[in-house]
Subunit: 319 residues, 4 copies
């Protein structure tokens, strides 16, 4: 297993919720400099189009930073024209624009030396019963993602699911639906970005859905964070569901999975650079804890032991 | 749309929870007689093997009842040998037995004049982290269902998903994963039984996932009930989420869906025959309410109106 | 029962979430003018301090509007100094400031002709385990609210609970804890603002906790809205949990409760004035539906009928 | 802090769910012998009336066992006459019987050398809207518990709350409501049994509500187990929410709380005696982990450190 750790450039500046601004905004250059200071970081994730208001300038700055790109994140939700949906917008012109955005993002990813565009269609869904036409929405989603991802096969398109956020109910809600969409579309460069927190809030066992996706080679990318199983608080990895974190790391080791973890963490207290370093550190400690317990020992617990034996053994290993 | 209403013969006798037996057990014959008394019922759903300890006798009794079968329900969870799983049991002999059970059930369905076996693999999953091998489990599920359902193509196999029950986390948890499984296996006679309550507790919008399944012709069968979005209480249709019920009926009308509704209702108070009749009555009232509002009016609300207009219009229709 | 309907002035202008601004900001005067256009509105709820940057000017404008105040809403969360908590801030100077704010708000309410300050201590709680001292927090909350509310007895202080929002877990999380706090403090002018959506997301049955609060005369004020039982989406009354809405109205009628409903509704589509009018209209339609079914009929359903009879009767009433 | 560990005698025999019997029934004598074999156990919790069909015989057997009683558990839910409620049964004769049962249980506790009756009114609540009269229910609960607990002041009555189980919604749902009830009744021998799993499924932070109860000396007794925050699966302590377990132990240490932990664990795999020993072992390991990290270190993390620092420090302590 070779896991590389990526810093989301978008999380390194302004952090705000409905009531407070916890950290001030910073320009791209400053945030790239800060990203380099994050202990354990191997690269960055950058959002298109928000970081590319001046495209050439941003490309140059990012290249100059020398930081490799884990993925280009395509945002099709925040701009005004997406307000009623992107890939499932009732207006065919807007849907075409979503497809076009994906093409641009794929080219830009290639230009920046990345092999992947990650995209969370977070404005596609509904708020109320009797608000949208579900038959149209799903058909449009299949059609749009297909048109988008088939543009070039050397760049992977990785879809990130989430139960809800800007819409009370998102159309790409969970791992099952995401894999079904991939299977329906059938492109070899289409897969899934699994945000651990999104899995947890969708009542999935993260390690389980990771395994299911891996079996068809569709686990492309991982966003690591944690929450209380109800809402996507973007908390530190392992800070709530430690066993889920350890189990996830155990299976990725078993699968000999190679890829990037990126950290969707909202830092409301403490320094951002330090906290991002702690997020990465927690995962690395998790990997050490797995080694401390022992992969073969865990194999044995799963295969042969009762839950009582297993958890006493696991907890004793922490002493 | 032509919806037929089926009585679950298994719900017509003993009803008990951890603390109380609310209704006493009754033999098959008595329950079939009671099923005939359920106002609005067009047929029955029968469970194999529990109702077939004496196979020939039970076949005869059911045929004699004159009640058509909506589906044969294959139970691969309650018998002692399923305790550690059926289609995903670590023991290959038990897994083979699950496949064999499906073949028997398919033949029996045909014998009883039904075209469908419905099966909820409710003992396949896990309780704790580090308890099962997820890679094996999913591979076994794909393999077993494929071997089972490919036995004969004139009988549909309809898989019922559920987030949890006997296992804290079931492997066939939600609609997305069910459709993904169907797509992976690729058989033309494989589809989904959607229990409305299971959809609701998996945080799905029932009408939405119904539509997604319908788009690939995989919505085979519907179990209708309701709950509080947290636990599968098997409550009366519409008794909690009335708008979801109405929206579901609206889309089935739009889809001109033909098929059976069966009623997975736990009757803890009142008479069983009367309560099952009320369950069916609620759905029929729902259909009338949709007509009272008007299909075209609803089309217009969805396409053109704001949420404020929509819900005021819908509620005013009840006055 | 005499229910009056109040428009939250704060909801009449800018509406935005993490991704979009759905409606632009408007000054107080404009919003007061709009509030007058809301069909069915009898008064307004105004937030202190946000609407009072120029105190005298705002008081004058509000008085001039001729709109009665249902309550003055004291916000002790949004300003920078509340970032680490208000009544439970580790800094005693900030805690004193929270108490002082309540005194000012009580005087201001009186000045504006209202008899109530409603306050939701939404920044008091915690995000992570091992982040705050729970013993201190609760002691400080009791002490602060007591000091605040005992300032003058002619103005009621009504506490609004919520499971979470700016903090992942709020200290004043549910109705039980709110009533316990009131009982511990023991002031005759201390009670509860029940936001129906907050009750629903705390897994309470709104009508039940309303009744419990009413039995000790502590139900002071109601914010009416709805959601999916998981997150406080501030949806239209009755748009998800219609039966809960009707049951609530039935009990308030039985209790002959007199007071104000205010509407914490986030309008992301459609016109704000129209949507607020629909929110009020929905409640009024609910009251008519209760009358259509009949109070005595409902008494009889509760006392004598099975769930099957009850829901068939209720649904038939909508035909 | 002095925590003693109690074995629930009722969990030592038959373990069954809807589908399987995982362990066979055993008579009281056998289960008491097994309880003695549970490593780390200091005493037992026994249920009245189920273990006392022959009162004198059972009293003798329990006394002869030499195992001290942590508490006598009063069950007012399982017998046929409780089917429609115990303390809130519409029939005054049944309500009187619930009160009488509590008196008997208090005398029996004294006779068995215990100072506490623990009671979870798990059949009091509702399943549907419009099913019960909430005003009556709460008044009856207050009245019944007062009459019950005021019988003798030398025996504590400890009320256990739970969101739901046999009723879809229990009246004694959460810690806040339980403390409110205690405060309303105002008896010095009335307090709360906190089942950690019940706290978690009610979306409480266990350590927080423990602290709130402790501040008024109402934390009488603890049932320790764990779950997925949605349903009371009665899992091993720390097997899901390890940080909550550690935080709980930290605060009990700070409070210098003395009392009993009892283990409401459903053992579906492995040997019961061994698994109960693991449950106790997990808590003891938890206490050692708190010491390994250091109480003063944790004080410092809470008071002075950011979430990033805190969780990195906590996790590093496990290496």
């Amino acid at each position: 297993m070779n896991i590389q750790h990526s810093v989301m450039i978008g999380m390194m500046g302004k952090v705000a919720d409905k009531f407070h601004e916890y950290h001030p905004g910073k320009d791209l250059l400053e945030r790239l400099r800060d990203a380099k200071k994050v202990k354990g970081a191997d690269g960055i994730e950058v959002v298109y189009p928000s970081e590319f208001s001046n495209l050439n300038e941003s490309v140059r700055i990012i290249k100059d930073s020398g930081l490799p790109l884990s993925a280009l994140n395509l945002n099709v939700k925040s701009q005004k024209h997406w307000e009623k949906g992107s890939f499932t917008n009732p207006d065919p012109a807007i849907r075409a624009q979503a497809v076009e955005s994906m093409h641009i993002a794929m080219d830009l990813a290639a230009e920046l030396g990345a092999d992947m565009v990650s995209c969370c269609p977070l404005i596609d869904g509904h708020n109320f019963n009797f608000e949208v036409n579900y038959l149209d929405q799903w058909a449009w989603l299949e059609e749009g993602i297909k048109k988008g991802a088939s543009y070039r096969q050397d760049i992977k398109v990785s879809l990130e699911y989430k139960l809800n956020e800007s819409r009370n109910a998102n159309i790409l809600a969970d791992m099952g639906r995401s894999l079904y969409l991939c299977e329906r579309i059938g492109l070899p460069n289409l897969g899934v970005t699994m945000d651990v927190g999104h899995a947890i809030m969708a009542r999935e066992t993260p390690a389980e859905v990771m395994c299911i996706a891996s079996l068809s080679n569709r686990l492309y990318y991982v966003h690591f964070n944690d929450n209380d199983r109800y809402w996507d608080w973007d908390m530190l990895p392992g800070s709530v569901n430690l066993w889920d974190m350890l189990e996830t790391l155990y299976y990725l080791e078993k699968l000999n999975w190679n890829g990037w973890f990126s950290y969707d963490i909202v830092v409301r207290d403490g320094d951002i650079v330090d906290t991002m370093a702690s997020a990465i550190a927690n995962v690395k400690i998790g990997q050490k804890l797995i080694k401390k317990i022992g992969i073969e020992k865990i194999d044995d617990l799963i295969e042969n032991k009762s839950s009582g034996d297993t958890f006493q053994t696991l907890m004793e290993a922490f002493l």
